[in-house]
Amino acid sequence: MAMEASVIEQMIKEAFPDAKVLIEDLRGDGDHYSALVVSEAFKGKSRVQQHQMVYGALQGKMGGELHALALQTTTPENAPDWAKA
């Protein structure tokens, strides 16, 4: 079982319309991705809460179809330059 990066990105953007998302396929197997998600919605939230929000956006796929997602979340102020454009 695997997931397309574009599907992951789309699901995240549906839940976070303002989000900037960078997804990398770590092993080319559709099962191990890293994702950086930048959104205003994370403001004031702990890191655990931020990640739980993203897992919620993935509607239960995390840990099932999607075996591994190395996740990083941040708000626009703390985002890397590419996400500020």
């Binding site: 890191r47 655990v48 990640h51 897992y55 995390m62 840990g63 591994a68 990083q72």
Partner: protein
């Protein structure tokens, strides 16, 4: 009707300062992410209880519901869910884990 698995989890995370729900054991981790967190804890010189969810399917699902976190490993310090592999590694890298352990009065070597 209380959930027996939740009761067991509560007992484990109350009786032990640092608990790592993982795949495999600290000596023989069965997953790269679990091994990574074991390494972080070892580097911090923290005594911790490793609980292998592979030997107990009800625990494997129960812990995910308990913390509302879909993956393993899961680290608990003084009964508080700290995070999975990503968060623990990020905290270790920026010194937050060391600060948290000190703040919670957890002995480190």
């Amino acid at each position: 009707m209380s959930n027996p698995v939740f009761e067991r989890i509560k007992q484990d995370i109350t009786e032990n300062d640092v608990v790592l729900y993982m795949k495999g054991t600290p000596m023989f981790p069965q997953c790269g992410f679990s091994a990574a967190v074991v390494q972080v804890l070892t580097d911090h010189g923290v005594k911790f209880k490793g609980i292998d969810i592979l030997v107990d399917p009800s625990l494997r699902d129960g812990i995910k519901q308990f913390s509302n976190w879909p993956t393993l490993p899961q680290l608990y310090v003084k009964s508080e869910f700290v995070g999975g592999c990503d968060i623990v590694r990020e905290m270790a890298a920026n010194g937050e884990l060391k600060a948290l352990l000190a703040d919670k009065g957890v002995a480190t070597a």
